[in-house]
Symmetry: C2
Subunit: 216 residues, 2 copies
DNA sequence: TAGATTGTTAATCGATTAACAATC
DNA sequence: TAGATTGTTAATCGATTAACAATC
């Protein structure tokens, strides 16, 4: 089956947020050689209700079979398609600091078809530095590079001060999504998708729970 | 005002998830010298409803004043207390790979009172390596170090294969929270808080939106 | 005081769970 | 076929928004 625009407009963020986790569990089951699983078994494994699993999956179609359950390999592959990771994505890194370099060197993304094609930084001291077979380029090259290499996704690991202006440049040259690690929200046109990873906010949530839920 | 256990049990995750963002905006307003703000103004800035802001804040008390709005500095400081970042936290890093090293070198956490005290790895080649004035230690030292230094939070940047066993060790020696970057869910006793940062899942969500919401 | 804006209750909306008929 | 389990509708629950009286 093929997935795309037509139906997905009204998939709630709650559902989208759970899909990668289903994908992860199904991948592990597949690796363990499990061939079929019922929503009930999966619910025990994942600590969510079987109802929710069936409800979520049925947003995209009937992948199961009454009396049998779900074929693990098939469901895994279908969710992969829904998530769009049956296709490869072209990435660039903007901001070659510690975090940026760590992300580029992180092999797991490549395995899923997220391929880094270029690295940019405004610090001249880094120009030409090789990180994973790519040389850090000056920001001036950014626009042309994105156009010429059909880059889909820009990974933003720069200080918030410059994030907004870089996002503007990116928006203007055909990028489709921004994976934003800068500590700010980005204002971009609606056809550009932004996924934020706000690490300090994540740490603050943990801090809150330490203070409040901790040691009952 | 002091915050803590007694009331916070029933604060929903939705609210907790928004607190750090309020905190960020208020911090910026404070830095800009803004002294007061109404829920309506803040709502325009943050693109959420004024109702939600007032509703969220009133879970913790009445911080505003009718006819006036909220005092920025006061509200900022109160949310800081609610989040528990008026106190310092003692952290260790477990897993001194690229990502782990990047996190340790990231100064922003320190600014908020999250202080790295030790670094551990199971790779002997790294023992003694200095990262930000700390030497990488063998895993054997972990338990004693946590106890002796009153470590609150362990940052887990290790492969999923060893994550569960390390989480078990940590659970047993007085750690209170785990900031988990490993690609798996952790089974820990209920008094231990886990905050997951699943980077590949975040990237998959972006991929989904690229495929589905993209270019209307 | 009059105007503004909160704190809070009530109404709405959406997401989760339960139930069960359909069906493999 | 009988048993199991889905797909899907209906019921419940929780979160968001609207409204407004209280009050600075």
């Amino acid at each position: 089956m093929e997935y795309g625009r037509e139906f997905a407009r009204d998939i709630s963020q709650a559902v989208v947020g759970r899909l990668p986790r289903y994908f992860r569990y199904l991948g592990e089951l597949k690796d363990e050689g499990v061939t079929r699983i019922s929503s009930r078994e999966l619910s025990n494994l994942m600590h969510v209700t079987a109802s929710q699993i069936r409800q979520d999956l049925n947003q995209f179609g009937g992948f199961g079979q009454q009396g049998y359950g779900y074929n693990v390999e098939y469901l895994y592959s279908e969710i992969g398609k829904i998530l769009g990771i049956d296709e490869t994505h072209q990435l660039i890194l903007v901001g070659a600091g510690n975090l940026g370099q760590a992300l580029v060197n992180y092999m797991n993304f490549q395995r899923r078809g997220f391929l880094f094609r270029g690295i940019f930084d405004k610090n001249p001291a880094l120009y030409g530095k090789k990180i994973r077979d790519m040389e850090v380029q000056p920001m001036e090259n950014l626009e042309q590079f994105v156009r010429e290499n059909n880059i889909d996704i820009a990974v933003l690991t720069i200080p918030k001060a410059s994030a907004e202006s870089v996002a503007d440049i990116l928006s203007g040259c055909g990028i489709r999504g921004i994976w934003n690690f800068a500590h700010c929200d980005l204002n971009v046109p609606p056809h550009i998708q932004v996924e934020n990873v706000h690490l300090s906010e994540s740490l603050m949530k943990l801090s809150f729970r330490l203070k409040n839920d901790g040691s009952v």
